[in-house]
Amino acid sequence: MSDLVIETKKLTKIYGEQTAVNSVNLHVKPGRIYGLLGRNGAGKTTIMKMILGLTPITSGEVDVFGQNIKGHEKRIYPRIGAIIETPGFYPNLTGTENLEIFAKLRGTPQPNAVKNALEVVGLPYKDKKLFSKYSLGMKQRLGIANAILHDPELLILDEPTNGLDPIGIAEVRNFIKNLSVERGKTILISSHILSEISLLADDIGIIDHGVLLEESSMDELEKKNRKYIQLQVSDIPKASLILERQFHVTDYAVQDEHNLRLYDTALDMAAINKALVVQDVAVISSQICNDTLEDYFKQITGGAGIA
């Protein structure tokens, strides 16, 4: 038994002739937020469905809490809360009534569970509004409320911010972060929005066309993605000479005949600019750049980009 909360081994899903998920090895560690990043149709939902046992696995293995989920549903499901795609509820009932049904069927012991869950996601308790009249954002919130209703150790959230407005996205992000930090929940979250994942996740998996291209922690990624100063000048050889002689800069890279990157962002840019101009090197632009996840994503997916 490993200490991983979710571990998949060569997880593969084939629909007919199409390989939706190809030999994916995920490692979700306890107490951390794992962000699954990929474009629409990359296979995120399919992976989550397989982890939850909602769709048959073509080949490979899934362990949740160190156990194969098949045959242990009764023990494992109560420890998981999940939303997959846009969750469905009974349209002729109110949000509260819907949750009460799920709470009862789960056998949730705390009497205030429904009220608490609704409070967390910012929906009114005992409201008269029917689910069929809910906006997309409210539906999504209710879905999250249902996922956290029974206070599970593991949350599997498939695009939880789908359909929420920017404020709503920020709220949901904060409370997911809280769940992880304050209550030590393990969270597997998927999104096609890069900034979302980069703001939330501790670990990240990048998936494209069913293949897990990269799996690493956010810290490692940040190390890879350094900040730098992009300098566009008229004469690169002369500029580099000035930089080395006058400012003792060694940590830089020449990109092409006009572009140059300085990796030491603490440099006195005003002085450098002045020195260059004085010595007849025209400075076309100079700016601080961040090699973002976006660039990284482009790099590893082969330039396709995201979102």
Binding site: L52, L54, E73, K74, Y77, P78, I80, A82, I84, E85, T86, P87, G88, F89, Y90, P91, N92, L93, E97, E100, I101, F102, K104, L105, R106, G107, L130, N146
Partner: protein
């Protein structure tokens, strides 16, 4: 667990129009048969005969309308989970799908009986208003028994259809057409004495006492309906094995 499931099922029907529609259908059946009662035969209106309305309504309703309505009720409760996409949430609880379906079927059974009792109430009231003095307690109780057993029997007879729908998920149209033809075919089965005994829909009438059946026919009818129930349980069970 079963208690919770039943509670949840009845909660889910809150504000749902289907019960009203089913009730409305039952009332309409009563009205339509009442219209037929205006037909005169040898200078006597049908409706004026004591007990005619009560007897005619249950048989016509069973041949033409109610089995389809009841199977619609059952298959609606089952198919909505898929349609409203709540099934995956239920599966994550986890809820045993066979138990879930059983809970739904129990509820459909209750509705089946209630619908027939509603029809009884309507016909009885009309008869009481028209000619209370012509009704005997025995006649009314006999009809009450017929309606009650019709409700029970019809549900058993169509239970395989509901079970099949549960397995196919999207088959509520099929269930409807099938239930309608199935009940309607009873009209033809009733023309032959042997077929009448073994065809589930007419077997219901043998049991309920609408047809003058001997002990043997009633027993056969009970066996046939048991077979129907066993068949639907087998369908559910086979499906359970498939998903596990």
């Amino acid at each position: 667990m079963m208690k919770d499931l039943l509670w949840a099922e009845s909660q889910k029907l809150h504000r749902s129009k289907i019960l009203w529609i089913a009730g409305f259908a039952t009332v309409m059946v009563g009205l339509i048969v009442f219209a037929q009662g205006q037909f005169t035969f040898y200078d006597r209106r049908y409706i004026d005969g004591a007990g005619w309305f009560m007897t005619a309504a249950q048989s016509l309703a069973t041949f033409y309308v109610l089995p389809a309505v009841i199977s619609l009720l059952g298959s609606y409760m089952i198919c909505r989970e898929e349609q409203e996409d709540t099934l995956k949430s239920l599966r994550l609880i986890p809820v045993d799908e066979v138990k879930l379906t059983l809970a739904k079927m129990i509820l459909a059974f209750v509705f089946s009986v209630l619908i027939y009792l509603l029809l009884f109430a309507i016909t009885f009231l009309v008869e009481a208003v028209l000619h209370l003095e012509a009704l005997s307690v025995g006649l009314v109780l006999e009809n009450l028994k017929i309606y009650f057993l019709d409700g029970v029997g019809v549900f058993f007879a169509i239970s395989p259809i509901i079970a099949l729908v549960a397995r196919m998920k999207k088959g509520y149209w099929l269930a409807l057409v099938f239930a309608e033809i199935y009940s309607f075919a009873g009209l033809f089965a009733s023309m032959s004495q042997q077929l009448k005994t073994v065809y589930p829909m007419t077997a219901v009438f043998n049991i309920s006492g609408y047809y003058n059946a001997n002990m043997f026919q009633v027993l056969i009818g009970v066996v046939i309906l048991m077979v129907c129930v066993i068949l639907s349980l087998l369908i559910l069970k086979g499906w359970n094995r498939k998903t596990k």
